[in-house]
């Protein structure tokens, strides 16, 4: 298609949007409200997911090294554990350091134990995937030189269940919400076009091909989607940064944190703008097609 024709399509789409400005405004409004909803929801889902993962990743195995092992033997054990399959991270903490931590947590009274430290040298082990924790713990338990292997048996299985359910619910809700958004937006755009089916008929009667009729409408749908995404993008950017900065200090000492605005907003803006454009373009194309088939 010639460039001049494309220019005409762009010009026609913009003129027509302006001359049907009340319809356009209604359509943009519908897109705005829907995408705002989608935006808030996506932000919530991503954070729930992040928190769930943080909890999962916090799961670690505590290996109490037998008191009969001296420091060098303990380090040998560390190396052995590191070589086991599915082990991601091994951290050795001597019993002296453990005591310092206990004293820091529970107070100076416990510093009495300085003379006779009752604690074990300890290995903190993380599995490559949280779900493999139990298996890794079993393997470590089979090694010589450990007094006990602790990993919250029973509790972590429960945690994984809760996390999985949360994720599934999130995914299902996201799909449902996106479908509702698609329906709402394309329906509004359909209405703006239905009001103009007479125009489509005339265009065809004076010799316009289907594409010639269709393209300006699709472009118009694109502008409507794009303009509709504008406000949600701005609102979410400002809103999320503010919510993040207000809530983050409250959970500073927790095992979880919220998704950083930079990471979340990049994805969110891309999703909102693309949804606006794609639904706008295809919503128009589909409803124009209905009126093109007439004659």
């Amino acid at each position: 298609m010639a460039i001049k024709t494309w220019n005409r399509h762009v010009r026609d789409s913009l003129t027509s949007m302006w001359r049907n400005r009340w319809m356009s405004l209604a359509a943009i409004g519908a897109v705005t409200v829907t995408l705002l909803l989608v935006g808030v929801f996506i932000a919530v889902i991503l954070n729930v997911n992040k928190i769930a993962s943080d909890f999962e990743n916090d799961v670690e195995i505590k290996v109490l090294i037998s008191t009969t092992m001296n420091e060098s033997k303990a380090l040998e054990l560390t190396q052995k554990v590191k070589k086991l399959p599915n082990v991601a991270e091994v951290r050795y903490v001597s019993k002296d350091d453990e005591l310092k931590k206990v004293v820091a947590d529970f107070g100076e009274d416990l510093s009495l134990f300085d003379q006779e430290n009752p604690l074990h040298n300890v290995l903190y082990v993380k599995a490559s995937e949280p779900q493999k924790t139990a298996a890794v713990a079993g393997q470590i338990d089979a090694l010589k030189g450990t007094d006990d292997v602790l990993y919250g048996k029973g509790q972590i299985e429960q945690l994984f269940d809760v996390v999985d359910t949360t994720r599934t619910i999130g995914i299902v809700f996201s799909i449902v919400l996106v479908l509702i958004a698609v329906f709402l937006i394309s329906n509004t755009i359909k209405l703006t076009i239905a009001a103009r089916q007479h125009e489509i008929e005339i265009m065809k009667l004076v010799g316009a091909t289907n594409n010639y009729v269709r393209i300006p409408f699709m472009l118009e749908g694109m502008w409507l989607g794009l303009l509709g995404a504008l406000l949600p993008v701005v609102a979410m950017s400002i809103g999320y940064v503010s919510v993040y900065h207000n809530l983050s200090p409250l959970v500073q000492n927790e095992v979880f944190s919220f998704v950083a605005p930079a990471n979340l907003l990049a994805l969110l803006i891309a999703v909102l703008v693309l949804m606006g454009i794609i639904i706008g373009v295809f919503g128009s194309a589909m409803s124009v097609r209905k009126y093109l088939t007439v004659k």
Partner: protein, 227 residues
């Protein structure tokens, strides 16, 4: 140029609008199509630009049998014709200039050429000063003239008009008929469905009378009543 052979048109529901119509129209002719309401005039006209398709028979326009024309080629047929619709069919959200230019834009003419042509036809129909008006700001006669301007802007060999003077006062009617005569004088075929006895009697041309879906009279230079 235009030929119809045994054309039958049945509408869904069994109503037969045309029942075996035969007619042949040569290049440069001016033809009135007359007959009572519901006789099949509009169907006959719509058949020529494929808004309606024949149930049987042949409709040949510019050497092509359009009864077999696939839908995607219909726009190309319409570009060879100028059609003035009974209800004008102007695009409501485009102004006069844009409405006329649209017929040239769809065939991808250059903007400069379009400007020249549109201004020329606007002068011809006497609307040069109303180029920026929108259809709803115009009188019926003015809208009719925009529709005529659009139909001839592409310099088609055939102009088809369905009741082009239907809603006009006598004065405007004569103005518009003069435009058609002028176009015809340049060699353009004109096919005009009309109810206007005065027009047919005063500006004598070939008259096709359709009644009950058949051609009942075909007379060169005949009046409205066939004499």
């Amino acid at each position: 140029m235009i030929e119809m052979k045994h054309v039958v048109k049945k509408y869904p529901g069994g109503n037969k609008a045309l029942q075996g119509l035969n007619v042949s129209i040569a290049q440069g002719e001016f033809v009135y199509v007359v007959g009572p309401s519901g006789a099949g005039k509009s169907t006959f006209i719509k058949m020529l630009y494929a808004e309606e398709r024949a149930s049987a028979g042949k409709v040949i326009v510019n050497d092509v049998d359009i009864t077999k024309l696939p839908a995607r080629k219909v726009p190309f047929l319409r570009r060879q014709l100028g059609v003035v619709f009974q209800d004008y069919k102007l695009l409501p959200k485009k102004n006069v200039y844009e409405n006329i230019a649209y017929a040239l834009e769809v065939i991808e003419k250059d903007t400069k050429f379009i400007k020249q042509r549109v201004i020329a036809v606007l002068k011809l129909v006497g609307l040069a000063t109303k180029a920026k008006r929108f259809p709803h700001e115009l009188s019926g006669g003015e809208q009719q003239r925009v529709a005529i301007a659009r139909s001839i802007v592409n310099q088609p060999q055939i102009v088809i008009a369905d009741e082009p003077t239907g809603n006009l006062d006598p004065e405007t009617t004569w103005e518009i008929m003069k435009v058609f005569e002028a176009i015809n004088a340049q060699g353009t075929t004109i096919i005009m469905a009309t109810h206007n006895r005065e027009v047919v009697d005063r500006m004598r041309h070939r008259v096709l009378r359709i009644d009950k879906g058949r051609l009942v009279n075909d007379q060169r230079g005949g009046g409205y009543d066939g004499y």
